[in-house]
């Protein structure tokens, strides 16, 4: 190397984990500064919980619960998916379209730091969303906090695996919309369909089997089912398609989606718009 062309660079490049943490702090700061986004993100599942649980609050025959109780874990699962899948799917598509991603790519920032930052954001908003729904559910809709360590533990892994799988799918789906204008339609439609066939809006025992089977291919159905297992009494197992909570199977499906979602992201992620080549 020559003295004229290259100035000495003895300093090491900043580390990935540290930069990921800094990006996370930046993402969270940006998120909370967009006040309308904050309000709608957190209010959406709460409003839906209120609507559904108020309309359907009869006793469910033979299950020992009220219909309103079914909606607490259901909305919690939908809330986890909306803070991860929907918010990442839309926001990354917008960042790509507005060339924020291209700018980052032109710096020595390691790509992993960008994704770590997104994970921190999703983790913070997901925990907040879940806490709000838990508060509303326990105070208004007769849902009890888990009574034993086993159920708390199940709650934790369902949250982590579900959030991770949905976040990865959100990153992957962000490459589908052609522009930021179409991003929310492209991302919201599959999410809405999944909510109908996974037992979020409509009780699991009234959905046709073939629809449930399609829903069972995706994480949301298993997140709903697992959270019902955490928050409802065992007498409600009779409503399930398989007649039980199936924790083991839930862990397997969600784990598989984490791996599959990661592969999908690695294969499809783009820093630039399709139009830009």
């Amino acid at each position: 190397m020559t003295a004229t062309a290259v100035r000495p660079r003895t300093e090491r490049l900043p580390g990935v984990w540290g930069l990921g943490l800094r990006r996370g702090a930046l993402e969270i700061r940006q998120f909370f500064r967009q006040r309308d986004q904050v309000v709608f993100t957190f209010a959406f599942p709460v409003v839906f919980l209120f609507l559904f649980a108020s309309i359907f609050n009869d006793d469910v025959e033979g299950a020992g619960i009220k219909a309103s109780q079914l909606y607490v874990p259901a909305m919690m699962a939908a809330g986890i998916m909306s803070t991860s899948f929907q918010s990442l799917g839309v926001s990354i598509a917008v960042e790509r379209d507005e060339k924020v991603l291209r700018r980052l790519r032109g710096t020595p920032m390691p790509p992993a730091a960008y994704f770590l930052g997104k994970i921190w954001l999703v983790l913070v908003t997901g925990v907040l969303e879940t806490a709000i729904l838990l508060l509303v559910g326990t105070t208004l809709y007769d849902v009890a906090l888990p009574s034993d360590a086993g159920r708390w533990c199940a709650f934790a892994w369902i949250f982590v695996l579900g959030l991770t799988a949905c976040a990865l799918l959100g990153i992957a789906v962000s490459s589908v919309p052609g522009s930021s204008k179409s991003a929310s339609s492209v991302v919201v439609l599959p999410f809405l369909v999944l909510q109908f066939i996974s037992g979020v809006y409509i009780a699991i025992d009234t959905i046709p089997d073939w629809m449930l089977n399609i829903g069972a291919l995706f994480p949301l159905k298993w997140m709903c089912q697992g959270l019902r297992g955490v928050f409802l009494p065992d007498s409600a197992q009779v409503l399930e398609q398989a007649g039980g909570w199936e924790f083991g199977r839930t862990a397997l499906v969600l784990g598989a989606w984490c791996v599959g979602g990661l592969l999908l992201c690695l294969l499809t992620f783009r820093w630039k718009n399709r139009r830009e080549g």
């Binding site: 190397m1 020559t2 003295a3 004229t4 062309a5 290259v6 100035r7 660079r9 300093e11 090491r12 490049l13 900043p14 930069l19 800094r22 930046l26 700061r29 940006q30 500064r33 967009q34 507005e98 060339k99 924020v100 291209r102 700018r103 790519r105 032109g106 710096t107 020595p108 920032m109 390691p110 630039k272 080549g277």
Partner: protein, 288 residues
């Protein structure tokens, strides 16, 4: 590697890029010396942006050799990216953050960044350091873009049409900034379709037309080489204006002096401007 004064910061041979049926870059050669300001001048669609994007490592090429700071940008590493600053044609930074937050954050990406406060001052945004980016004017945003381009203390700065959309005053301020960076030793490549900008800033420039370099050299030398000849203009006694293009203007004037006894009305001898040369080189003479 041996040390010599004319070490090339950017070396391009036979660069080609096609988009479907359209050939954007059709065999460009460039050599940019360390420490100089190099202008890539040409009309819209001449292939300037494609070339710069390939040099940035943000676009694949179809053919040609490219070396930027001794490495192929198609295989850019983090270490290489930390030595190259980029200012894009149309830029966007996160709107909800303040100027200071953004510049400080970007400084974290680099192994040896400049002082964020100093860079904010360098681009003239001291008064806006605490403002959200969404509250900045277009010109202020561009200056923030430059701040983010130089925060890593790059050896090479690539600017793609940096002043498009600037008003004249903002453009002058921007030129001063580029000169400051150049004095500090940064090698600068800028594309522009403003001739006066290339003439004001560039030590050397290449004129690009239809994906090829049609002329290269110092601005004055280009005018010398491609702008031979002169135009002699005067008014006939009946007031009719006349103009003659000639390689021997002195002889033409001498003949006129014999015809007109005394002052020659409306006499003017002009050499072609760089703009004339540019328009001729890029085949846009009709545009005048």
């Amino acid at each position: 590697m041996t040390t010599h004064a004319n070490e090339l910061a950017v070396h391009v041979r036979g660069l080609r890029k096609r988009y479907g049926e359209v050939t954007a870059v059709d065999g460009i050669d460039l050599g940019i010396r360390t420490g100089e300001v190099f202008g890539l001048l040409g009309p819209n669609g001449a292939g300037k942006s494609s070339t710069v994007e390939i040099l940035q490592g943000n676009r694949d090429r179809d053919a040609g050799e490219v070396s930027v700071l001794g490495a192929d940008p198609a295989h850019a590493t983090r270490a290489w990216r930390s030595r190259v600053g980029i200012v894009w044609q149309d830029e966007s930074a996160p709107a909800e953050l303040t100027v200071a937050e953004t510049v400080r954050h970007f400084a974290r990406y680099y192994p040896r960044p400049r002082d964020p406060e100093e860079v904010i001052g360098l681009v003239g945004l001291e008064g806006k350091a605490g403002s959200r980016i969404k509250a900045l004017s277009g010109g202020q945003r561009r200056r923030l873009d430059v701040a983010l381009g130089v925060i890593g203390d790059p050896e090479l700065l690539l600017l793609d049409e940096p002043t498009t959309g600037f008003d004249p005053a903002a453009r002058r301020q921007f030129w001063d900034l580029i000169r400051k960076l150049s004095v500090e030793g940064t090698t600068i490549l800028l594309t522009t379709h403003y001739l006066e900008e290339a003439e004001a800033l560039a030590d050397r420039l290449a004129v690009v037309s239809r994906g090829r370099v049609v002329a290269e050299g110092e601005p004055a030398a280009l005018r010398e080489r491609y702008g031979s000849g002169a135009t002699v203009e005067w008014n006939e006694p009946d007031g009719a204006p006349r103009a003659v293009a000639t390689d021997t203007p002195t002889r033409t004037v001498a003949e006129l002096m014999r015809r007109f006894d005394g002052e020659i009305p409306g006499l003017q001898v002009s050499r072609p401007t760089l703009e004339d040369v540019y328009l001729r080189l890029t085949g846009q003479e009709d545009a005048r």
